[in-house]
Symmetry: D2
Subunit: 315 residues, 4 copies
């Protein structure tokens, strides 16, 4: 069965980890913080050859996983943001100079599960205009980076690709690094609101809830691009696909349904695929599945990302 | 197969119309406005006996259907709101006296597909406070009704049932009629944003995107209750259920799959049901499916409802 | 000169403290927390006689003052909310039973300086629905109070007085105590965003940015009412009045203007008043003065109030 | 007395019209639409010499004035937007080719009186992405212009000047013309919500509620810039200044105060100015005065501007 679209590296990671055992140029690390119940998985794709085999660009893919991420007790959120800050600090460019960072909150602030990026950006401490006006002594900490931010909106609102807007802004202010925050589509409802993915490979077409059509990467932007994403929806077709898979597995497992399963198996693979495609309503293509309490989890998760960035920048 | 939850009378109407041919106490009318491409279906359940047989309370169920409802060209929206106003005028209490109306916008304004009611209410002309302060001559039209409104929010925000809030408010201001506006869950993605349902039977448990648990009806409120609803989501379980149905129908239709279909049919019904239940992930229970451009259609549809109410009240 | 409208007890307190020295039935206490730069002033009006003389109802008036309140460094906000929580705990009803609290966020969420109450309420932990559904064991802490909340909106939106809505809701759910949060009008721009006022006397007519016309007090509600307010605007007439006062004082102070001042003094008081009244444009009556960065301070202050309430309820 | 800051050309126009009678290179026209009670004033500054004398750049300044602008009856708004569209059509570049327009909504969407630009832009029909994807036949009208939009936010949110963001975006998409929408500061409360000002000279420093510090003009942008503004606030210092002026005029008018007035006049002008400056509280500098119902008027006025633009673009 054709695989549903996924933006979530962890899901890929599962494949990756299995495959990477055999693959030169790929390394995977896993850390489990018992006290905070946070799992951090890091996958390095080191060579072009490995990248080709993995079907993903060369780079670092970090996943923070925590069962309580979207609805934590007070204090737990702080643990996650501190780990996120640690990860970000490793990916941010180093240097003696004051760092200049542009943070872009992708997505549609008017559609709740797509509002992660805009809401996170709203909670950032912004410093660029103060440093421009008052110089390096605007803040007590002389190493305070120049942080600026942009919420590019979505094409239906602006008539422009997010890339066009971010690139235009970046060419005016020349940041050292671009950080993009986006809500992602996961392959499974189990992932929703439970993982933060950070990568230095940027954002690729078809990523995110809102389907950006242009790459936002070091290649297209001319500067390092760090992407932070949290899955907030599953595409409707994925849900149905998964259920069909479950159905067919169940057929195989059940004794009394053995015969049914057998006759399914006797179908040619093309017949199987066509059957499934036919019953997927075309209306499902622009539909997504999201939890009823998505407002509360977007609020929590955007806060965690903003807190992680603020710690990484200013502590 | 167990039917998915539906709040949409039109879907019921399809059954109803078929059944009502044979049923005493049920009348159905249909009107098609060719010029505006609007179909208006009215079902009257007149007797307690018919109500029992239909599984729905006695009352009037009107459905306005228009393919272009959620994204109309300029002007088309006005046609729909004028028809809605006409329907509302027939359901509103008559009398020589100035009418007092309380309009409640149900749902969660922070979750886009559930924000229909709150957004519609924001666009209403509110008059009660002016009439209270300046008397019947506050407006040129001396028959201007006393319109007030409330957005009760959802339980996670208030800790209260919508019923508790609306009832409390109504007991203070004693309106002649309550109008509730709510986003509904449809059985099919084809319905989304294409029908407005108006009924004088109020809102029943499990209705709406947000799952109100208490009836808001003439019985619980002590005054007539008119409900206006538009389907904005489909529950995730419904989507999967439908796909499974399609799958099984396809099995029956296809010659080469005849055998598979046969073996399915030879399963006992309980075995069939269990199989399906097993493969529906429990996480799906609090998930809904909604279109990616839901922000634009909520904006349009809430405007149409508000315009319909404003015309009904003030023209 | 007639005094501008003020909702701010601290301004009254200045009078009060001076007067209370001589007044039976009034006690004033002041505490200064050096480390956190927070000043807490408590005035008790103990007797009806004193109340009459003070022109304010019997009760407790607490004012927390901190220069950095609306724009604190991280951590400072917590100090203020902890002090607020301490004050609230003293005013909340005591008893062995689980407490039931209704919190009302007054004001217009669409007008930034009036959005304090609605924004604070949005950040509260709401528990009533969980305790209703799962009983006293819904939370680890068995003494978790039943917290519910309501944002009544403003008359132009609802057609109703805030009192009508809150009273209606309260009569449905019978809380032990009502807490109202409201943005206040101060007499001086120096106060804006720098003081939190807490009182057990409720809200009185003409209070707040939005001019509620009905008392929300123990007398009208039938239960204790705690009011929390922060000044976010100054009425335009107050600003002008103050400037005029300053002008006239300046006249008296300056030697070279002695003559001008003298001729002013030779006017009858009624002539003085009329002169000032004439030059106050009637348009100013519904205008208020507010800082340009009011969005940031409302965000910060609503967070502080919500944090204070959450600590008072759950710690 | 030093004049308060004003962005409103009409106020300047009053001076202009008086002066222009005598001034070469300045023409003024006035049109009064009796039926709709709309006054349209057009001032042309044609020569550099006149521009120098007027203290304003060469260009066209159009002002639409209507007493009912911010709170019109249904239908009246349409009259204003149609006149606005007519004015815009005259200022938009002509040519056989499909026009490409970028519309920028300046201001802070989180501060009600500054949200005019962002709210207007939200109600625009955006076409650029459709024309890019489907070519000139995307719309029935083959002359449909390419409309795109940007809400740059304010410096405290982005760390960037509006100019930097708009310029960056414009350099990516190369529009033929930039239209900027901004809330203005008026010199008098009487102007608030009653005039729309359109000019082809762009936006100049210190304009608007939010104090943009960089010019957004044809010179800085490299393309024609049309600015649309509506006054929504008066600066607090202006209010006080005006009241002082009124006070002093009153002194002169009143017989019994003759003496006072005389002694004021005998002060040197520098003494007068210093006196006034002293009594203007420095806190007033970042304060503005705005009506209590500003949310309703921003909603109405942003709709009128968006409607005017939509008519100008697509009719």
């Amino acid at each position: 069965m054709e695989q549903g679209r996924t933006d979530l590296a962890l899901e890929e990671n599962e494949r990756i980890q299995t495959e990477s055992a055999k693959l030169k140029g790929v390394r995977a690390e896993e850390e489990y913080l018992d006290q905070d119940d946070i799992r951090i998985t890091t996958v390095y794709i080191d060579t072009e050859n490995a990248a080709k085999k993995m079907g993903k660009p060369k780079g670092v893919y970090v996943t923070l996983e925590s069962s309580a991420m979207s609805m934590p007790e007070e204090g737990e959120s702080r643990c996650v943001s501190e780990q996120l800050a640690k990860v970000l600090k490793q990916l941010l460019p180093k240097g003696g100079e004051e760092l200049s960072v542009l943070v872009a909150g992708l997505g549609n602030r008017m559609v709740t599960p797509d509002a992660l990026g805009p809401q996170a950006v709203e909670q950032l401490c912004i410093t660029r205009h103060m440093l421009k006006e008052f110089g390096p002594y605007a803040y007590e900490n002389e190493k305070t980076p120049q942080v600026s931010s942009i919420v590019p909106g979505v094409m239906g609102q602006t008539g422009m690709e997010s890339l066009e807007i971010i690139k235009g802004v970046a060419e005016q202010i020349h940041p050292d690094v671009l950080i993009v925050i986006d809500a992602l589509a996961a392959r499974s409802t189990r992932r929703l609101g439970r993982t933060i993915q950070v990568t230095d490979t940027g954002i690729n077409p078809g990523s995110g809830v809102g389907n950006h059509r242009n790459k936002i990467t070091e290649e297209t932007m001319g500067m390092p691009v760090i992407a932070i994403g949290i899955p907030t929806v599953v595409e409707a077709v994925t849900i149905v696909n998964d259920s069909m898979s479950g159905f067919l597995s169940a057929l195989e497992a059940s004794e009394s349904m053995k015969k049914l399963s057998d006759s399914w198996r006797h179908l040619k693979e093309t017949e199987q695929k066509q059957l499934i495609r036919e019953l997927l309503s075309p209306q499902l293509n622009n539909m997504f599945v999201t939890p009823k309490d998505i407002d509360a989890s977007i609020k929590q998760m955007s806060f965690t990302i903003a807190e992680g960035l603020n710690i990484a920048f200013y502590n």
